[in-house]
């Protein structure tokens, strides 16, 4: 197993990805704080992980103004668990005046009252509000060992609350079980959603990143899993999301949502600081390239 952090040599020898345009801006609004401690979390979020703190509305607003001057197209919110952030609803409300927003949540804090308030915010906004709820199996038996006991039912009750309020969340599933991404697995997830009375089920499957808690689970990268210039496709690195996005945390601006626990993934303090190429020196860069990852909906 190789260390996740690249050496200075590896950085110098790595291919570089250009930022084509800043289309997508991510905010780690929940920091690395979460009411769960999932075994596959690539940022090892937990109730005691203060690697990144929650962001305040005021900080988010500063970045929204800079983002507007750069013509950013869409905003994504993640953590940790975004809804642990007491200002989360206000943050979404303000963001929706700038552009469409998507929030990635574990669904546990989506009670009826909050779901109704979110639906109200979505209804009043100029742009689309999308809610993505994470789940890791189509049954308690397959989900709960990953996300924690009892979470399957609590996640689905969050999804049901959103649906009752008039929102239509996207169920987001990682490939923690091989069958999750199979045709059979997808059909099982769709039927879980239909049983909740959702007639327009929406589903997204994401690959795993062998970093953070997932690496502790024993699936870290091998030394050959790094990108070389010769790996570049004919049309360059534009399929990687770091060619069109950046990630803001309470400690500055990172190249992407995956590398926030790598100090070398930090590119600067403002968006302007990060308008430059980034060396694809991390093992996680290999995953994005090979699996064609887009964290977007």
């Amino acid at each position: 197993m190789s260390s996740v952090s690249p050496t200075a040599d590896q950085e110098a020898q790595s291919p570089r990805v250009e930022l084509r345009h800043l289309d997508t801006l991510w905010f780690q609004v929940g920091g690395t704080l979460c009411n769960l401690a999932c075994t596959h979390c690539f940022v090892s979020c937990s109730p005691t992980n203060h690697t990144h703190e929650m962001m305040r509305l005021e900080e988010v607003l500063t970045f929204l103004d800079e983002a507007a001057s750069l013509g950013v197209k869409e905003y994504y919110f993640t953590g940790g668990e975004p809804f642990l952030n007491p200002e989360m609803e206000a943050i979404l409300e303000h963001t929706l005046a700038y552009g469409p927003a998507t929030v990635l949540t574990n669904g546990l804090l989506l009670d009826r009252t909050r779901s109704r308030r979110l639906a109200g915010i979505a209804e009043a906004a100029d742009y689309s509000l999308d809610v993505r709820v994470s789940i890791d199996g189509y049954s308690a038996e397959s989900n709960d060992p990953i996300r924690g006991s009892g979470t399957f039912d609590r996640i689905l009750s969050g999804v049901a609350n959103l649906t009752a309020a008039g929102l239509n969340p996207v169920l987001t599933v990682t490939e923690v079980h091989d069958e999750n991404s199979s045709a059979y697995g997808k059909e099982r997830f769709f039927s879980v959603l239909r049983r909740l009375g959702i007639d327009k089920p929406r589903l997204k499957i994401l690959p795993l990143f062998p970093i953070g808690a997932e690496a502790e689970r024993g699936t870290a990268y091998e030394s050959w899993q790094r990108l070389r210039s010769s790996d570049a496709p004919a049309d360059g690195w534009d399929h990687l999301q770091c060619s069109t996005s950046r990630m803001v945390t309470d400690q500055g601006v990172w190249v992407c949502p995956i590398l926030v626990n790598e100090p070398s993934g930090k590119m600067g303090a403002t968006l302007a600081d990060t308008l430059r190429p980034f060396p694809l020196a991390h093992a996680a860069c290999w995953t994005c390239h090979v699996y064609g990852v887009s964290c977007r909906t």
Binding site: H21, S128, N168, I211, Q251, N261, L275
Partner: protein, 337 residues
């Protein structure tokens, strides 16, 4: 109670592991796969990256957004033009559109691409375009057909959407003449047109990508202003999503998705849409026009060609049955399926 089994060793161990996971990070930070003292991570991040002063930031943002001038010839000036997209082999709608805009005395007629897919008899479209002297730009469909690609490059991720996209692409590819395909390969990717003194940029998806989706609810004002700044245009006209919208911008410019004439706009009515643009005292008057046509005739032809029932249903009742996965939350919420 004495007869109850004591908690198994396994469940006690699981509980201890869970507690350990929940409290593992007190005072620590995760640096990659290692746990380090929080302070060590914080000082490493504080030192990482670059920090420009405010003048350098301003210059960097300006450089980053700077754009090559567009050498495309500007057509016009005209007083009134019609702009439409997404014919999708719907020749009855195209014929109805040409009748209507001719009677409204359009100075010029523009089509923003996606001639094929979905409907029947692709070759019926070309003579109509020629008779109407329609100026066409290339959509992803024309690009793919001309290059003999295996798919339409519509940009779907959902397997069901891809299945139906594939059915319609294969039908169109097999039934489009070689000459028509070659002609599609010669089409320009963009045009510029003056309506009065307003300079319009016409593209298929977006000025940046032929298959970029610009939906009303996910295309924000600052993004559109940035595109028009870069392109030095007063208005943007695009299509590709199938749903029309017009957004007057704070700068006084306009962004318009002209919609499509090939299938209804997912609103439960069998009509289609095109865009009428007129000079109005130095400004641009934008009208998104509903167009009725003989949709039953089209449905009959589609049945005879054994095209999927899902497509025919859309033509008759106005609700989309495919390509739904790409809709943003708001557009999907308004959708029946």
């Amino acid at each position: 109670m004495s007869h109850r089994m004591p908690k198994s060793e396994r469940s006690l161990r699981q509980r201890a592991e869970k507690r350990a996971r929940l409290t593992a990070h007190a005072g620590l930070a995760t640096w990659g796969e290692r746990l380090v003292p929080l302070g060590q991570f914080r000082s490493a991040t504080a030192a990482a990256g670059r920090t420009l002063d405010s003048a350098a930031q301003e210059a960097t943002r300006r450089d980053f957004l700077s754009h090559q001038p567009d050498p495309t010839t500007v057509e016009g000036p005209y007083s009134r033009i019609a702009v439409f997209g997404g014919v999708y082999n719907n020749h009855p709608a195209l014929a109805a559109l040409l009748d209507e805009v001719t009677s409204r005395s359009a100075d010029a007629i523009y089509c923003l691409g996606d001639l094929g897919g979905f409907g029947p008899h692709p070759n019926k479209v070309r003579p109509l375009l020629e008779e109407g002297a329609v100026r066409v730009i290339q959509g992803n469909y024309e690009e793919s057909l001309a290059a003999n690609h295996q798919d339409c490059n519509c940009g779907y991720t959902d397997p069901r959407d891809n299945h139906f996209a594939d059915v319609s692409y294969r039908y169109t590819a097999e039934n489009t003449s070689l000459g028509f395909k070659r002609w599609m390969g010669t089409l320009p990717r963009r045009r510029r047109v003056l309506v009065g003194n307003r300079e319009l940029l016409l593209v298929h998806g977006s000025p940046r990508r032929i298959n970029e989706f610009l939906f009303a609810s996910t295309t924000p004002v600052p993004f559109l202003e940035m595109l028009l700044d870069q392109e030095k245009a007063d208005a943007l006209c695009c299509t590709h999503t199938g749903l029309e919208w017009h957004r007057p911008l704070p700068s006084g410019r306009d962004a318009i998705n002209v919609g499509v004439i090939g299938r209804p706009a997912n609103d439960g009515r069998p009509v289609v849409r095109y865009c009428w643009l007129e000079e109005a005292r130095g400004k641009l008057a934008v009208e998104l026009v509903e167009l009725a046509y003989d949709h039953r005739l089209l449905a009959q032809e589609m049945r005879r060609e054994e095209l999927p029932n899902e497509f025919i249903e859309t033509i008759l009742d106005g609700w989309w049955t495919t390509c739904l996965e790409i809709l943003p939350a708001r557009e999907r919420a308004r959708s029946r399926h």
